[in-house]
């Protein structure tokens, strides 16, 4: 076989593999959207779920998913940012840093059911939080932290060493070089990391079944007091998310239209994640421009 033939074969194989990946993605997305979108309506998005009758919606579940995501990011982002900066900029190259990195890796490969049960025992039972958004957010932080830390560390590492030298040689302190130069340059990468981890948080179900719970009590969306039990912002109320709702409908759903609602909810989940991706990407570009050029 001459080199031209082998080159053609290799190219063909690579194209075929890519086509397979795209094919699977298109098939999944297409199937979910095709079967789900017909069930999405304004009524579906804005009404509460029904346990026994047909015609329920996903309003509370959708909101719970968003709220949980926001809360998770509020908890995990500062921690991940700090540890990402430490690992990228300060950590000496020794066994201890290696240990931290390994720990982060292990954390990221924990099965979500295990994290969920752990959260259940520690937060829900031991700390008396009950099934609550807060317990769910802390459990999700466990997933989020490794991904986010890793992506922040990598985004910082991607900033050229020349930039650090430029800052230091100008008489900036190390901290000022990091916060004033390296971090702004890494913002698009960090945002991509947040989006990726957010997608995972949004779709997570197993860990939430035991922490945030499977019930969506009726809440008052006009009540902005987060300590009021009826408020939609109360972090200590149980909250069934969209992904948990889909799981529940498919395992023990008794509404006559369980299949339809589950398809619709799946489509909503996908669409929201896609929208979130687009929005965050635009936000990333906008922020980068804002931070790197005056006026």
């Amino acid at each position: 076989m001459n080199s031209k033939t082998s080159n053609n074969i290799a190219t063909g194989v690579i194209y075929a593999l890519v086509a397979a990946v795209i094919g699977i993605l298109v098939f999944l997305l297409g199937y979910i959207l095709w079967t789900g979108i017909p069930h999405i309506s304004w009524h579906f998005l804005t009404s509460a779920a029904q346990s026994f009758r047909a015609g329920g919606g996903v309003r509370d579940q959708l909101f719970n998913s968003m709220y949980l995501l926001v809360l998770t990011l509020i908890i995990s982002f500062p921690i991940a940012l700090g540890s990402g900066i430490y690992l990228s900029e300060y950590a000496p190259n020794n066994w201890f840093t290696g240990l931290i990195r390994t720990a982060v890796e292990v954390l990221s490969s924990l099965p979500s059911v295990v994290v969920g049960l752990f959260g259940y025992l520690l937060f829900v039972i031991q700390f008396n939080m009950g099934f609550s958004i807060l317990a769910g957010a802390i459990a999700l932080t466990f997933f989020n932290l490794p991904l986010l830390t890793r992506s922040i560390e990598e985004s910082l590492q991607d900033v050229s060493q020349l930039q650090r030298e430029a800052g230091l040689s100008l008489g900036l302190s190390r901290w000022k070089t990091i916060t004033g130069i390296v971090l702004p340059a890494a913002v698009p990468g960090i945002l991509t990391g947040i989006i990726l981890s957010a997608g995972r948080v949004f779709g997570e179900a197993a860990a939430l079944i035991y922490t945030a719970g499977q019930s969506a009590p009726t809440v008052n969306y006009g009540d902005w007091n987060p300590v009021d039990p009826a408020s939609f912002l109360n972090p200590l109320r149980p909250a069934e998310t969209l992904a948990v709702h889909i799981w529940k409908l498919n395992t023990e759903g008794v509404t006559p239209d369980a299949a339809a609602i589950s398809s619709g909810a799946s489509a909503v989940l996908i669409v929201v994640i896609l929208l979130f991706n687009l929005l965050a990407r635009m936000l990333g570009n906008w922020m980068y421009k804002k931070m790197t050029a005056t006026r």
């Binding site: 190259n93 050229s160 020349l162 930039q163 650090r164 030298e165 430029a166 800052g167 230091l168 040689s169 100008l170 008489g171 900036l172 302190s173 000022k176 004033g180 130069i181 702004p184 340059a185 931070m291 790197t292 050029a293 005056t294 006026r295």
Partner: protein, 251 residues
């Protein structure tokens, strides 16, 4: 002439490997000194000792003494941040910050606490003029510096250093990544500022050294071979190795 930097028996080790074998070099105020020599001779390494940029590299040990005026720059009480404010640096690869031109040049001043818009505007303009780039960028001050050509970026980097008004400016092969026209502009800049600043430049380009420098130091394999007035060195070098290098017999 006042000596601004004096270095005495400077040895530098990367791990166990000795890269500088005891360099004695003094730099006079408001002059341009060129460091020349073949690749790997230690000229950049030596230059980076002068503002402690070698601190960033793991496993580097430095012995001997380097003084900026009367301050030992490797003394434990030396504030490295303050040292680098006094000894600025321009690198081989243009490395402007991913900010606007104005922000690049004003950044060091802002961090030093300067808030007065007029002072900043004025200093940005002066620095860009000194760096011979004002006319090209005066209408684009608020555009990202990375959008400009390599030669322009390098002059922006020079302006950025000038804006904080250091006493000494180190340049590590500032024109080796640039085209001849941009290189000539950088040389013009150096000629412009030679009476206000002490300039130490590492260069591969012997013509450049002969054009702009007052004194030249020739390094070879981590040793200082010869250090004298540029004219003298290029016409009557004392050492045969210097003569061979200048005549292109090696390096």
């Amino acid at each position: 002439m006042t000596k601004i930097i004096t270095s005495n028996d400077v040895h530098l080790y990367y791990g166990k490997k000795e890269a500088l074998h005891g360099i004695n070099l003094d730099f006079e105020e408001h002059q341009i000194t060129a460091l020349i020599g073949p690749s790997g001779c230690g000229k950049s390494t030596y230059l980076r000792c002068l503002n402690r940029m070698n601190d960033l590299i793991k496993g580097v040990t430095i012995t001997g003494s380097i003084k900026l005026e009367n301050d030992d720059i490797y003394a434990s009480q030396m504030d490295v941040v303050n040292l680098r404010k006094r000894v600025g640096m321009v690198f081989q690869q243009p490395n402007p910050f991913p900010f606007s031109i104005y922000e690049n040049v004003a950044y060091g001043l802002r961090l030093a606490g300067e808030k007065d818009k007029h002072v900043l505007d004025e200093r940005v303009e002066t620095s860009l003029k000194q760096a011979a780039i004002w006319d090209e960028v005066k209408d684009h001050l608020y555009e990202n510096a990375l959008a400009f050509s390599g030669g322009q970026q390098q002059r922006i980097c020079v302006a950025r250093v000038l804006a904080v008004q250091p006493e000494v400016i180190l340049l590590d092969e500032p024109t080796s990544a640039l085209d001849p026209i941009s290189s000539a502009k950088i040389e013009d800049t150096l000629m412009n500022i030679r009476h206000q600043y002490t300039v130490i430049i590492v260069t591969h380009n012997m013509q450049q050294a002969s054009r702009i420098s007052d004194k030249t130091a020739f390094l070879l394999n981590g040793d200082l071979v010869e250090f004298s007035k540029t004219e003298k060195m290029f016409i009557h070098p004392d050492d045969e190795k210097t003569s061979d290098y200048l005549n292109g017999k090696f390096g």
